[in-house]
Symmetry: C2
Subunit: 193 residues, 2 copies
DNA sequence: TTCTTCACTTCCATTTTGGAACTCGGTTAT
DNA sequence: ATAACCGAGTTCCAAAATGGAAGTGAAGAA
């Protein structure tokens, strides 16, 4: 029973992570490359042209070209002509791409909290409807309280359950406590705030 | 005035992105490497030992060793002995690491929405205080409404303002609308839901 | 004594990324 | 009408990161 492809797992290569039954791995297979999230940030900020992105991020045209091609293939960005004669293009977010906004927000939040020096944060997010500079929060849509890692659990969804029946692998626990033992160890290095 | 280091910018290498005045770039400099977020996911799920992580992710010990070393250096994880005689270690989240939970959540959400096939989502998140399987939402802590990308703006914070005075670069706009023109182009490819 | 487990290293091949220069269609400046 | 100048890339090669296989070393266990 050690035939490749018959339930025996080999090494995982990065370009195969989208085959994992894991939404994190699948998301990273689309936006987990170097530069990709920074390119998407630029497009959210209104920097949508090849040249502009290239100069803003200071990466090589080669890399940018690759990344944009991949983002268009994955339907995160769409390449649309903003001028004919001469034919010129820009990149716009699709619905799927727009839906990455929460990811942008939490990356900003963590960086603001843990990586900003004493000079303060780089940008402030403004919620136009209420006019305030805010730090968005994750809440439970049911009880409206703030999400705390220690109050969350993960349990197998349909895909993992199906897998558990279909092949030889079993789902060890029906309910895994998330971060349940993630207390600060007594000798933990102090992370700067 | 083309002396290196005197205001003239060169190419940006990936290991220099933490020098950008951008919280997204700074966050990615810590967790933007291949495998890093998946390792952190494992630790959140309670998979905390070298071997266990290695077998779960099927990466090489070399890579895992590198990543763990970096995460400990960056104070995301702490290496603590769970047994002496023989001396054995496990990796635990620090406060700084625990604070990456929102990032885990939004990666899961996006993957669930856009990458799950008809077999359904891999895992469901359960909010233990209210007992429901939920999909966390980002809200404005001020007016409690759901964050919509088109209702958000970014404006320079203290660090960018200081930079604008200090060196020659200017901040072009005081207020950049985020995603203001990110409408669906008419010929946009339909992203599968 | 040899075997196994955990937690890694070392060595080398493959893949990805980075740097520099070049292309190509169209436009404006002289 | 020719030269120079965009914007939006490509091509080619070198450097760095990653992947695969095998080895290490300390402590129990058989």
């Amino acid at each position: 029973m050690s035939v490749k492809g018959a339930g025996v797992v080999g090494k995982m290569r990065w370009n195969e992570i989208d085959t994992m039954t894991c939404s994190i791995a699948r998301t990273l297979s689309v936006v987990g490359d170097r530069w990709t999230m920074l390119i998407i940030r630029d497009v959210f900020l209104g920097i949508r042209r090849f040249d502009a992105i290239q100069h803003d991020l200071r990466l090589t045209p080669h890399r940018l070209s690759d990344r944009l091609r991949k983002l268009v293939r994955d339907e995160i960005l769409a390449r649309v002509a903003y001028e004919r004669h001469p034919h010129r293009f820009e990149y716009r977010l699709t619905r799927k791409g727009l839906d990455l906004y929460p990811l942008i927000v939490v990356l900003v939040e963590w960086g603001d909290r843990w990586m900003a020096g004493r000079e303060g944060v780089p940008v402030e997010l403004v919620h136009r409807p209420c006019g305030h500079s805010i730090r968005p929060e994750l809440i439970c849509p049911n009880c409206k309280s703030k999400i705390e890692p220690r109050e969350m659990s993960a349990r197998p969804g349909p895909a993992l359950k199906k897998r558990a029946l279909g092949d030889g692998t079993t789902v060890k626990q029906s309910r895994t406590k998330l971060a349940s033992q993630a207390q600060e160890p007594r000798d933990a290095p102090k992370a700067r705030v």
